[in-house]
Point group: C2
Chain length 202, copies 2
């Protein structure tokens, strides 16, 4: 059983979080999900709807997987040193760190992606790059794996990465079962990224 700490903050992107949590959550014998925030309680998403963070970054949390979403709130949180410090310390302790969309800007700003290959939302690519000048940013990828770091492209790409993470940990058959249960057509090829072209990055 692996514990997943999914960070949320005001202005987090709904699907960045709940697409992956849907899929991890279906394997309830393998993954235990927790929402964690700087201040626990109701946290308003970018779409205004609220989720509840039952844990605080001040709690003595022990996660196996750290999960960091994107959303408009990342533009503020890249200046939040308390949160970045927590990300940096947590990323050292966990087995895997995952991000979706502009969540990789938070990882980059926390310094944990330095010298690593990583990707992000293609619409926000130029901004995210400035948050991590020492990161080897990949302009065309659905998601990127580099050691314990899995970073995905924008919003819905998080679901493809999550199935990739399930495949890494439990085999491709389990990932296919989850995709089938969700009636989701998994984009299994990490390098297939039509949105890079749409945004003129390749």
């Amino acid at each position: 059983m692996r514990r997943i700490g999914a960070l949320i903050f005001p202005g987090f992107e709904l699907l960045d979080v709940f697409g992956p949590m849907e899929m991890f959550g279906l394997l309830e014998d393998d993954f235990q999900l927790e929402l964690v925030a700087e201040t626990p309680g109701p946290i308003q998403s970018n779409q205004k709807l609220k989720a509840i963070a039952e844990h605080s970054i001040s709690d003595d949390t022990h996660y196996d997987i750290l999960f960091v979403p994107g959303g408009a709130g990342t533009r503020r949180e890249v200046g939040n040193h308390r949160l970045l410090d927590w990300i940096s310390i947590s990323a050292e302790k966990v087995e895997f760190t995952l991000s979706v969309c502009t969540g990789s800007a938070l990882l980059a700003k926390a310094g944990v992606l330095d010298t690593r290959r990583a990707t992000t939302n293609k619409a926000a690519y130029s901004w995210v790059r400035t948050q991590g000048p020492n990161v080897d940013w990949v302009p065309q990828a659905r998601w990127v794996e580099d050691g314990p770091f899995l970073t995905s492209s924008g919003v819905s790409a998080g679901m493809d990465m999550t199935l990739g993470a399930i495949a890494l940990l439990h085999g491709e058959d389990r990932a296919e079962e989850v995709a089938k249960w969700c009636e989701y057509s998994w984009h299994k090829d990490k390098s297939h990224d039509p949105f890079a072209q749409i945004h003129g990055l390749v």
Copy 2:
């Protein structure tokens, strides 16, 4: 501006709700989102994580769109007459009623789909059918439109239906913009449903 009332209940499926709410929510000048439940406050999803329903079905809500997700909780809620009555009354007042996955079992049991064409999750197809013997169930469809009712297949199909609803209301270009922003490859063909075959329904 249309107000969307998204019903949640204990055991609602995360992605059924938050995939569509991500997409509607991006058009913040066109849609206002509200989570509504029998009892307002924190509501635990099928994946254990909690969202906040800020409105109760007892409130004097006036929605333009009623949205009903699925999830394991529907097996209990098909016996909840207070909730079914609210669904029935609300569906008469709104412009459109949308369901995802086994959400159509609640619509069917509330009687609002009688004589209508509708679809549902393909893994739960035989159970859902028993909830609405007078519904014209469609075994192979990503989603079905019949008058003011849009019903989708399982979990991730809700996102394709939502883009279809956005196209209906604001034109296909707007739907394509939302899909692009979410880096989502929209399955635009309502009749394309490989999961019907996987589950032996065709």
